[in-house]
């Protein structure tokens, strides 16, 4: 994802759009395109939305309206590790909010924010379908279950260490 530069991202997105608007009712594919844009770019930047607007021939204002309606779309850059703490009912009943507080205190950020070193972002999830393991959190694509405040802090610290060891050539 991050290995691509912006030009490559734009080209790939253009190719994707060109293909999809050949289908019936091209405008209806806007959300599919935004998913693809977020997958390629990490988040929906102003520039990316302008590009989608041009390629799909839909006003940027409409695209903005759609992008802001749905929680899944991120309008700001996300950190290398995107932590989503589940606050669905099952997780909540089993102490999800304590896990969330622990992450907030450990990283010093609130929901929707990213740490200054761009390493971690924090989001709230609404049930990721792993309620049997509640409380859970998802970091990028990996699910961590049966969490406690201590466990999640250990996980965060391990990720920090992992990242540091990668920095050293």
């Amino acid at each position: 994802m991050t290995s691509h530069n912006q030009e490559e991202i734009n080209t790939n997105l253009k190719i994707f759009i060109a293909e999809i608007i050949k289908q019936d009712r091209p405008d209806s594919h806007l959300i599919t395109v935004l998913h693809k844009a977020q997958e390629l770019n990490g988040y929906l930047s102003r520039e990316i939305m302008d590009l989608v607007s041009q390629e799909m021939n839909i006003p940027t204002s409409t695209i903005w309206g759609v992008a802001t309606f749905y929680h899944y779309f991120k309008l700001n850059p996300v950190g290398k590790y995107n932590i989503s703490v589940c606050m669905g009912t099952a997780c909540y009943v089993k102490g999800g909010s304590e896990v969330l507080t622990a992450v907030k205190e450990e990283l010093g950020i609130e929901i929707g924010q990213t740490t200054e070193d761009l390493l971690f972002s924090l989001h709230e999830a609404r049930c990721i379908g792993a309620c049997g393991l509640a409380p859970v959190a998802m970091i990028n694509d990996k699910i961590y279950g049966e969490l406690t405040p201590k466990k999640i802090i250990d996980i965060i610290n391990n990720l920090k260490k992992e990242d540091e060891s990668k920095q050293i050539p």
Binding site: R25, S28, I31, F69, G88, R126, C127, C131, G132
Partner: protein, 511 residues
């Protein structure tokens, strides 16, 4: 070490005969038994027999009659008779019609639909093909949550494999019937589970509900007649065709036929999915199938129907699980979320949790829901912060009933339910918060008093963590908290490694 723990859990679940003995599997019949990524496995398990039977031996009218006679009702929440919906969509004359599968599964704490798609994706493909044949549609759309990557992958593969085997595509199995389908992804908006909002979302728009009528059966997706059903509803179809409507309607009670899948979660020993015949009691599902409440705690309430449902108490545990009885008891069947709550939970706080959810998910189209829920949440927040006023509980009831009546879609119409049902069943907890500024369960943060007990060794960790300097004490001596300064942030409690800080909630003098 991890492995050991897993086998332990495996044996506690599987050695317990009741967990399986009391279940009956129709929607989940193949889940966990077949390889969901292998179409041959599905075919070997009798898959696509129903579609072949329908195409070779049944007219669309026969299919609709069968679904009607089975007594199947929608599993997405409202319980509308499926056959009647099929019939009214079939009646419409139009050159284009759609079948849609609602796989948005928005109830935060439920994962039935995800499991069906991940475990048996071809059942959805087959069910939808049969539905399309019955109503005369050529195109199907599955609206699936983007949060379920594995389900997306498996369903995509199932669709491609079905196409190769000509269970989808042109002239299916040599008949004159052609049908194909695609997946469209949701993007994390609860309101998009509502059928008309869902259609707007598939059309690439903001997912706001439309006014009904016209109903989707008349004017739905792209303003064409549309048959929309929930995942589990679709998953029942092939079994009804293969085994007959009579077989299906012999399972269940009263007007609720067949089975229902529940996602057991919260404070229950066996968390996970359970498919039970309609008519079982809540007590049976919680204690026999679910294994009861862990850690010797007492049962307090069970919430069904998620943010649209209600909390039921101990005295209602003998309620049978069917659409009518659950509604009569003050909750709803819902889509299958079942959250068990034990004595540690504060019901006012639980109600606030659900309302925070619906408030943030309200699409804002109509005033009663957008503004009314916000007002209710303000009152609830004030109550849990210890600033509740006399008359607040009555205000909540009044507002709640008003919002239910005046909202445009099901979100607003049902959002007050968790509050109203907890007021009804746990009024004394609300009164305790309002009148005595006390949360007996020691959950509501602002009503907690922190005190230091004799286990304190004077390490000063708490004093250093306190953001407002409310803790005093000399090193190696017992510390004390000045309640007047404390802002109840809980940092000291979390920082103490010696269990020397107690949380209590004490009734305050009436002012």
């Amino acid at each position: 070490m991890e492995k050991q723990k897993f086998t332990d859990r495996f044996s506690t679940v599987f050695a317990d005969q009741n967990f399986f003995k009391k279940q009956k599997r129709i929607a989940l019949k193949n889940c966990g038994l077949i390889d969901p990524e292998n179409i041959d496995d599905y075919i070997f398990a009798n898959g696509y027999t129903a579609l072949a039977t329908v195409l070779s031996e049944m007219t669309p009218e026969d299919v609709i009659k069968s679904v009607k006679d089975s007594g199947l009702r929608g599993r997405g929440g409202a319980g509308f008779p499926t056959g009647i919906k099929w019939e009214s969509t079939a009646k419409q004359v139009n050159d284009e019609k759609f079948v849609v599968c609602n796989a948005d599964e928005g109830d935060p704490g439920a994962f039935m639909d995800r499991s069906v798609i991940e475990g048996d994706p071809h059942a959805i493909v087959e069910g939808m093909a049969i539905g399309a044949y019955a109503i005369g549609a050529k195109k199907g759309v599955v609206y699936l949550r983007a949060e379920y990557p594995l389900a997306i992958k498996r369903l995509q593969k199932a669709i491609e494999d079905a196409r190769k085997a000509n269970f989808l595509g042109k002239n299916i199995l040599g008949s004159s019937f052609s049908f194909d389908m695609e997946i469209r992804l949701g993007a994390g908006a609860f309101v998009c589970g509502e059928e008309t909002a869902l259609m707007n979302s598939i059309e690439g728009k903001r997912g706001m509900p439309r006014t009904r009528p016209p109903f989707p059966s008349v004017s739905g997706l792209f303003d064409k007649p549309t048959l929309l059903n929930n995942v589990e509803t679709w998953a029942n179809i092939s079994s009804i065709i293969v085994n007959g409507a009579e077989w299906f309607s012999s399972i269940g009670v009263g007007k609720s036929k067949g089975t229902k899948v529940f996602a057991l979660a919260g404070k229950i020993t066996n968390t996970g999915l359970a498919e039970i015949p309609m008519g079982m009691t809540l007590r049976e599902i919680i204690y026999d199938v679910g294994g009861g409440i862990p850690n010797g705690k007492k049962f307090k309430a069970v919430q069904t129907g998620g943010p649209s449902g209600g909390c039921l108490t101990e005295s209602m545990l003998d309620t049978t699980i069917d659409y009518e009885s659950l509604t009569k008891a003050g909750s709803i069947m819902g889509s299958g979320g079942m959250i068990v709550i034990d004595e540690d939970a504060c019901m006012v706080n639980i109600a606030k949790f659900f309302l925070e959810f619906t408030q943030s998910e309200s699409c804002g189209k109509c005033v009663p829901c957008r503004e009314g829920i916000k007002r209710m949440l303000e009152i609830l927040t004030r109550i849990t912060d210890g600033e509740g006023q006399t008359g607040d509980i009555e205000k909540l009831e009044e507002l709640g009933n008003m919002i239910k009546k005046a909202s445009l879609c099901g979100l607003g119409q049902s959002a007050p339910n968790p509050v109203l049902s907890t007021i009804k069943n746990f009024r004394e907890e609300y009164e305790d918060h309002v009148n005595n500024k006390r949360c007996k369960c020691v959950v509501c943060e602002k009503l907690i008093t922190y005190t230091i007990n004799d286990k304190c060794i004077g390490c000063s960790a708490c004093r250093r963590s306190c953001p407002v300097g409310a803790i005093a004490g000399l090193p190696k001596e017992k510390h004390t908290i000045h309640e007047d300064l404390c802002i109840k942030c809980g940092k000291c409690f979390r920082s103490c490694k010696f269990h020397a800080i107690d949380k209590t909630s004490i009734a305050k003098e009436q002012k």
